[in-house]
C-alpha cells in the first residue's frame, strides 16, 4: 500500500462517518454495526455525557419510535431522535458500559447468574410483546450486561430485519413466537458456553420446547417460559420435561434435604436407644 492508497482509505473512512454538524453530538468512534445501522460512541455537548448514537437508513426511522415506546429497565432508553444533514435518521441512547453477552459468557458466570440474565432478557421481551413490539433479531450480540450486572436488550428489530440464522425461527413470517424461539436458542447458547459442567436436562428441555419447529408447540408466550424457568430455580418440575422417577426422587431429596436429615436423626436416635435398652 503506497501513500496515495492510505490517503484514499482515510478519505473513504472519513466520508463514511456521519456528519453530526447541527446536532449536539460530537463523534468519538464506531462501536458496532447492528441491524440496519451503525452505532457510534459520541459526546453530548449540552449535557456533557457520553451516549451511543445509532445512525439508520432513513427508511427505518420508525425503529427509534418503536424503541422509544418501550420503557423498561432491561431495554436501552432512547434520549433523542433526529435527522442528519444527509437525510439519514439517528437516535441517541444510553451508552452501556459493560460486555456483550457473548463476551460476558467468556468470564464463565455461574448457572444461577446465567439464569438471572436470561430472566431479565425474557422480562424485556414479555414487556415489548405487551406493547405490540417484537425483537426479530435476538442474539448474544444484541444483549449487553453492564458493569453492575444490569442487562439490556438492544437493536430492536424492524420489518426489514431477517434475523440471524442460528437464532432465527424457521417460519417465514416472524411474530412473538419467533422471539420465543430466539430466546430458546439463546438459553441453549448460554448453557453451551464454558463454565457450566453439564447443563441440567430440565433446562435443556425448556430451550428445546421454546425452539420447536412448529410455533404452536412452543410456549404460548414468554411469561410461560419464564414461569418454567422459575419452577426450575425453585426445585420444582418444569412443564417442558416429563422427568424420570430417579430424577424426580433426586429433586425431592435435594429440595427436602434438611427435613430428611432431621428424620434420619430421629430414626437414628430411636434405633440407638432401642438397641441400647434391649442389649
Amino acid at each position: 500500500m503506497d501513500v496515495s492508497d492510505s490517503v484514499l482509505d482515510h478519505l473513504r473512512h472519513v466520508a463514511a462517518l456521519p456528519d453530526l454538524s447541527g446536532t449536539r453530538y460530537e463523534l468519538e468512534c464506531e462501536i458496532g454495526r447492528g441491524g440496519m445501522g451503525v452505532v457510534y460512541a459520541a459526546r453530548d455537548r449540552q449535557l456533557d455525557r457520553r451516549v451511543a448514537l445509532k445512525v439508520l437508513d432513513a427508511a427505518l426511522a420508525g425503529e427509534a419510535q418503536l424503541i422509544a415506546r418501550l420503557e423498561h429497565p432491561a431495554i436501552v432508553p432512547i434520549y433523542e431522535t433526529g435527522e442528519l444533514p444527509d437525510g439519514r435518521a439517528f437516535y441517541a441512547m444510553k451508552l452501556v458500559a459493560g460486555a456483550r453477552l457473548d463476551g460476558y459468557l467468556g468470564g464463565s458466570p455461574s448457572l444461577g447468574e446465567r439464569l438471572r440474565v436470561i430472566r431479565r432478557i425474557g422480562e424485556a421481551l414479555a414487556f415489548a410483546h405487551t406493547r405490540g413490539a417484537i425483537h426479530r433479531d435476538l442474539k448474544p450480540q444484541n444483549v449487553m450486561v453492564g458493569e453492575f450486572g444490569e442487562v439490556y436488550v438492544m437493536d430492536w428489530g424492524v420489518e426489514a430485519v431477517a434475523g440471524t440464522p442460528a437464532f432465527r425461527a424457521p417460519e417465514a413470517r416472524l411474530d412473538r413466537r419467533s422471539d420465543i424461539y430466539a430466546l430458546g436458542a439463546l438459553i441453549e447458547f448460554m448453557l453451551a458456553a464454558p463454565g457450566v459442567a453439564a447443563a441440567p436436562p430440565a433446562l435443556r428441555a425448556v430451550a428445546a420446547k421454546a425452539m420447536r419447529a412448529d410455533p404452536g408447540a412452543r410456549y404460548p408466550d414468554v411469561a410461560a417460559l419464564l414461569a418454567d424457568l422459575e419452577r426450575f430455580q425453585e426445585g420444582l418440575a418444569v412443564e417442558a420435561w416429563s422427568e424420570p422417577l430417579g430424577h424426580r426422587l433426586q429433586r425431592f431429596a435435594s429440595r427436602n434435604a434438611v427435613l430428611l436429615w432431621l428424620l434420619a436423626a430421629y430414626a437414628t436416635v430411636k434405633l440407638a436407644l432401642f438397641f441400647w435398652q434391649t442389649r
Partner: protein
C-alpha cells in the same frame, strides 16, 4: 393457615407419633394412653411456641434451633416428673422439636403476610 395453627397441628401429630413409639417397649404397653396424651400435649406446646417464634423470626436455622431447644426443655420436664428415663425421653424430644421448628418455618403464613391478606 397461620404458623401457630400449623405448629399446633404438626406438634400434635409428631408428638403422638413419638409417643406411639413407646409401644416397642413391652414395659410401657400398659401406660400407652397416658404416654400418648402426654406426648401429644408436649408436641402441641412445642408447636405452639415454635409457630409463634416462626411468626416473629423467619430463619430456618433459628427455627430448628428454637424448636429443638423447646423440645428438649419440655421433654426434660416430662422426664423430671418421672425421675427416670431422661435420655429416652429427652433425646427424641430434642429431635422432634427440631422437626416441628423446621415445619413451622416451612409452612404457614408469616405474620406480615397475614396482615396484608386481611
Amino acid at each position: 393457615m397461620n404458623k401457630i395453627l400449623a405448629g399446633l397441628l404438626f406438634g400434635l401429630f409428631l408428638g403422638a407419633l413419638d409417643g406411639a413409639t413407646a409401644a416397642f417397649y413391652p414395659e410401657t404397653r400398659n401406660l400407652m394412653t397416658g404416654i400418648l396424651v402426654g406426648s401429644s400435649i408436649k408436641g402441641m406446646l412445642v408447636g405452639l411456641l415454635s409457630g409463634w417464634f416462626a411468626r416473629k423470626v423467619q430463619s430456618m436455622k433459628w427455627g430448628i434451633a428454637m424448636g429443638a431447644a423447646l423440645g428438649l426443655l419440655f421433654a426434660f420436664g416430662v422426664a423430671a416428673m418421672q425421675h427416670e428415663h431422661y435420655l429416652e425421653i429427652m433425646l427424641p424430644g430434642f429431635v422432634t422439636g427440631g422437626i416441628i421448628g423446621f415445619l413451622t418455618q416451612r409452612t404457614g403464613t408469616p405474620k406480615l403476610a397475614e396482615k396484608r391478606e386481611a
